[in-house]
C-alpha cells in the first residue's frame, strides 16, 4: 500500500518537474505569438540560459543569481530577435534558426572554455536551487504556476494584454487606434524569450543539475507544439503541459521497469515523447486557431 503511494507520489513529483520547463517556454511563446512574433529559437534560448545560469550561480554560489542570469540571457536574445522581426521585418524562422545554431556552438564552446571539460558539467550543490522542504518540489514549479496565471491575467484582463493580442490578430486595426505595433511586438518577444530563459535555468541548476550541449533535448520544440495544443491560451498550456509532463514521466518510469526493459529497450522508449508530440499536433487540425497575423511582418502602405 505505502509502496504504491510512494510510487504515485514519485510520478507526480516527476511530472511537476517535467512540465515546468515546457510550460514556462510555452507560456512565454504564447505571449510572443499573440503579438505576432514566432520564435523557433526557444530550444537555443533554453540552452544558452541554462549555461549562463550555471556560470553565474556558481560564481556567486547562489542559485537565484543563476536564475536571474538565465532570465536575463533569454531577454537579451529576445531583444535581438524582436528587433530583427518587428523593426527590421526579418524572417522569423531564419532568425530562430540562427538562435539555435548560435546556442549549440556557443554553449559547447563555453562549457569547455569555462570549466575545461567536454560537453558535460555538474555545478556544485550550493549553486543548485533548493527543494521546498516537506513537499519536496521545486520552488520554480510554484513560480511557473504563478507566472502562468499572471500571464493569463495580463493577456485577458488588462489593456496591455488587449494591445498584445490585437497586434497579433490585426496590426492594422491596432495601428489605427494608436497602438505602437513594433514596440508591442518587441516587448512581447522579450517577455517570451525571458521565460524560455527561466526554463533553461530550471533545467540546468534545478531539475537536471547539469549543463550539457543537448540540455533541452527538443523541449524547446515540444513547447512550440504545446503552444499550438493550448490554442495560444496560458491556462490550457498549463493543463497540456501537465499532460505532456505526466506521460513523459510515466514513460521514463515504465522504461526503467525491469519487466518492460526486457521487452522494449530504453533507447526505443525514448522516442515516446516525440511521437506523442507529433500525434497530438496531427490530431489537432481545425481545433486550434493561431493568431491571424502571426509570423508575418507588418508593413504600412
Amino acid at each position: 500500500m505505502t509502496e504504491e503511494l510512494v510510487m504515485i507520489l514519485d510520478i507526480l513529483r516527476g511530472t511537476s518537474y517535467a512540465m515546468t520547463p515546457l510550460i514556462l517556454a510555452a507560456v512565454g511563446e504564447i505571449v510572443a505569438e499573440r503579438a505576432g512574433i514566432v520564435n523557433i529559437g526557444l530550444e537555443g534560448i533554453m540552452l544558452l540560459s541554462g549555461f549562463m545560469a550555471v556560470v553565474f550561480a556558481e560564481m556567486a554560489m547562489n542559485p537565484w543569481i543563476g536564475v536571474l542570469a538565465g532570465i536575463g540571457m533569454g531577454a537579451l536574445i529576445g531583444l535581438i530577435h524582436g528587433y530583427i522581426t518587428a523593426y527590421l521585418k526579418g524572417d522569423h524562422i531564419i532568425s530562430g534558426l540562427g538562435i539555435n545554431l548560435f546556442a549549440l556552438g556557443t554553449v559547447a564552446f563555453g562549457i569547455e572554455a569555462v570549466w575545461g571539460v567536454r560537453g558535460y558539467y555538474t555545478p556544485p550543490l550550493e549553486a543548485k536551487v533548493p527543494i521546498i522542504p516537506g513537499i519536496e518540489i521545486s520552488p520554480l514549479f510554484i513560480v511557473m504556476i504563478l507566472i502562468t496565471i499572471g500571464t493569463y491575467y495580463l493577456l485577458y484582463k488588462t489593456s496591455i494584454g488587449l494591445k498584445i493580442r490585437a497586434v497579433g490578430e490585426n496590426p492594422e486595426a491596432a495601428d489605427v487606434v494608436g497602438v505602437n505595433v513594433e514596440l508591442t511586438q518587441l516587448l512581447s518577444a522579450v517577455y517570451g524569450a525571458a521565460l524560455a530563459g527561466l526554463a533553461g535555468a530550471f533545467l540546468s541548476i534545478d531539475w537536471l543539475a547539469a549543463i550539457t550541449k543537448e540540455l533541452p533535448a527538443g523541449r524547446g520544440f515540444i513547447a512550440l507544439a504545446l503552444v499550438n495544443f493550448a490554442n495560444w491560451n496560458p491556462i490550457l498550456a498549463l493543463g497540456g503541459g501537465a499532460l505532456f509532463g505526466f506521460f513523459w514521466t510515466l514513460a521514463e518510469w515504465i522504461k526503467n521497469m525491469a519487466a518492460i526493459k526486457a521487452i522494449i529497450p530504453v533507447t526505443l522508449m525514448n522516442t515516446i515523447p516525440y511521437i506523442a508530440t507529433i500525434a497530438v499536433v496531427a490530431g489537432l487540425i481545425g481545433r486550434s486557431r493561431p493568431p491571424a497575423h502571426v509570423g508575418r511582418p507588418y508593413k504600412r502602405e
Binding site: I99, L101, T267, Y274
Partner: protein, 364 residues
C-alpha cells in the same frame, strides 16, 4: 537593340547577385568578429586562433588540410541541399539531421548482409537514400494531410530517428569487436580515398555531382519549375495548373534523398570507422550545419558548394585551432550561428549605408 537589352538584363541579374554576395560576406565578417570577442572574453587569443584555423584548413602548404576541409564539406553539402530544396518549395525542412541518420542506418543494414562485393555500394546507396526519403516523406504527409507545421514535425522526427538508430546500433547491428560502434561497412563496400592518409574519399565527388543534379532538377526540369513556382507564389502556381501539395511532397522526398546520401557517404566513405559510433557522434550535427551552409549559399545549389567548403574549412580548422590556440573546437559552430543570425537581418547593410551617408552629410 536586342543584344543591348539582353545585356541590361544580365546587368540587373549581376547587380542582384553582387548585392547578395556583399550581404553574405558582411554576415561572415560579423560572425568572425563577434566570435573573436567571445574568444577574447573566454581568455583566448582570437588572432592566433583564426590564424591556426586558416593554417590547418585552407593553407596550401599541406594537401592534407585541404583534403580534410573537403571531406568535412561533403556531408554538409548534401544536407544543405535538403534545406535548400525545402526553401525553394516554400518549406522549412529542418529534418536533414534525422534523415541523414536514417540514411546511415540504411547503409549499416546493407553492411550487415552477406553479399557479393560489388553489390555493397549500390545497395547501400539505394537502401540508405530510400529510408531517408521515407523519413522525409513522413513530415511531408503530416504537412499536406494534417497541416502539421514542418518545423515541429521534422525536429521531433530528428529525435525519433536518433533514438531508433541508437537502438539499432546497440541492439541490432552491434560491432562484435568494438562495442562503441556498429558493424562496419566491409572493405568492398567502401568508397576509395582520393588522397591516401586523409579522410577525403570519392564521396566528395558524389556530393558535387548530387549538387549539380539538384541544380539541374530545380532549373532544368519540370518538377523543379513547379517546386520553385510553388515556393515563390503558391496562388499563381495553382493558377498555373500546378498542385502545390504534390510539389511539396516531392520536395520532402528529394530533400530526404540528399540527406540520406550524406548518411550513406559517412558510412561508406569516411575512415577509420565506416560505421555509426556511440551516440551517433560521427554523424551528429551535420544536418544542422547543412542549414547554415544552405543559408550562406543563398539556398542555391551552386552557392552551396563554396559555402560547404567554407563550413568544411571551419570544421577542419577547428582542430588546429584547438591544438594551437587551445580554443574549444565547438567555437566554429558559434561562428556559424552568428552568421545565420546576421543573414536574418534584411537590409542590414542598407541600414548601415544609410546611416553612414547621413553622418557624412552632417560633416559636409
Amino acid at each position: 537593340m536586342g543584344s543591348l537589352s539582353s545585356l541590361k538584363g544580365k546587368l540587373v541579374l549581376l547587380k542582384g547577385t553582387l548585392e547578395k554576395l556583399v550581404e553574405i560576406i558582411f554576415a561572415i565578417i560579423v560572425g568572425f568578429v563577434i566570435a573573436g570577442l567571445m574568444m577574447y572574453m573566454g581568455g583566448f587569443d582570437p588572432i592566433k586562433a583564426y590564424a591556426a584555423m586558416f593554417e590547418t584548413s585552407l593553407s596550401l602548404t599541406d594537401p592534407y588540410y585541404i583534403a580534410m576541409t573537403l571531406s568535412f564539406a561533403t556531408p554538409v553539402m548534401l544536407t544543405a541541399l535538403t534545406f535548400a530544396i525545402g526553401v525553394r518549395a516554400g518549406l522549412f525542412n529542418i529534418g536533414a539531421e534525422g534523415q541523414m541518420y536514417m540514411g546511415a542506418l540504411g547503409a549499416v543494414i546493407v553492411a550487415s548482409w552477406t553479399l557479393p562485393g560489388p553489390l555493397y555500394l549500390p545497395l547501400a546507396f539505394i537502401v540508405g537514400s530510400l529510408l531517408a526519403a521515407a523519413w522525409g516523406l513522413i513530415a511531408g504527409l503530416l504537412k499536406v494531410l494534417r497541416g502539421v507545421n514542418e518545423v515541429v514535425s521534422t525536429i521531433m522526427l530528428n529525435w525519433i530517428a536518433f533514438w531508433i538508430v541508437e537502438y539499432a546500433r546497440v541492439y541490432v547491428y552491434p560491432n562484435p569487436i568494438d562495442a562503441s560502434k556498429t558493424i562496419s561497412m566491409p572493405p568492398p563496400g567502401r568508397l576509395p580515398l582520393l588522397i591516401r592518409g586523409t579522410e577525403l574519399s570519392v564521396s566528395f565527388i558524389i556530393a558535387i555531382i548530387t549538387v549539380f543534379i539538384v541544380y539541374y532538377l530545380l532549373w532544368h526540369m519540370v518538377l523543379g519549375y513547379e517546386i520553385r513556382a510553388t515556393g515563390l507564389n503558391p496562388t499563381a502556381a495553382r493558377y498555373g495548373g500546378i498542385n502545390p501539395k504534390k510539389t511539396m511532397l516531392w520536395a520532402f522526398i528529394i530533400g530526404g534523398i540528399a540527406a540520406g546520401l550524406a548518411g550513406v557517404s559517412e558510412i561508406t566513405g569516411r575512415p577509420p570507422s565506416y560505421a555509426i559510433t556511440t551516440g551517433l557522434s560521427n554523424l551528429f550535427g551535420y544536418g544542422f550545419d547543412g542549414i547554415a551552409v544552405s543559408l550562406i549559399g543563398a539556398n542555391h545549389p551552386l552557392g552551396i558548394i563554396p559555402a560547404a567548403i567554407f563550413i568544411g574549412a571551419l570544421s577542419a580548422g577547428s582542430r588546429g585551432m584547438q591544438t594551437t590556440a587551445g580554443v574549444p573546437l565547438e567555437m566554429v559552430k558559434a561562428v556559424q550561428g552568428i552568421i545565420v543570425w546576421a543573414l536574418a537581418m534584411p537590409g542590414l547593410i542598407r541600414l548601415i549605408r544609410r546611416r553612414m551617408i547621413r553622418r557624412r552629410g552632417v560633416e559636409l
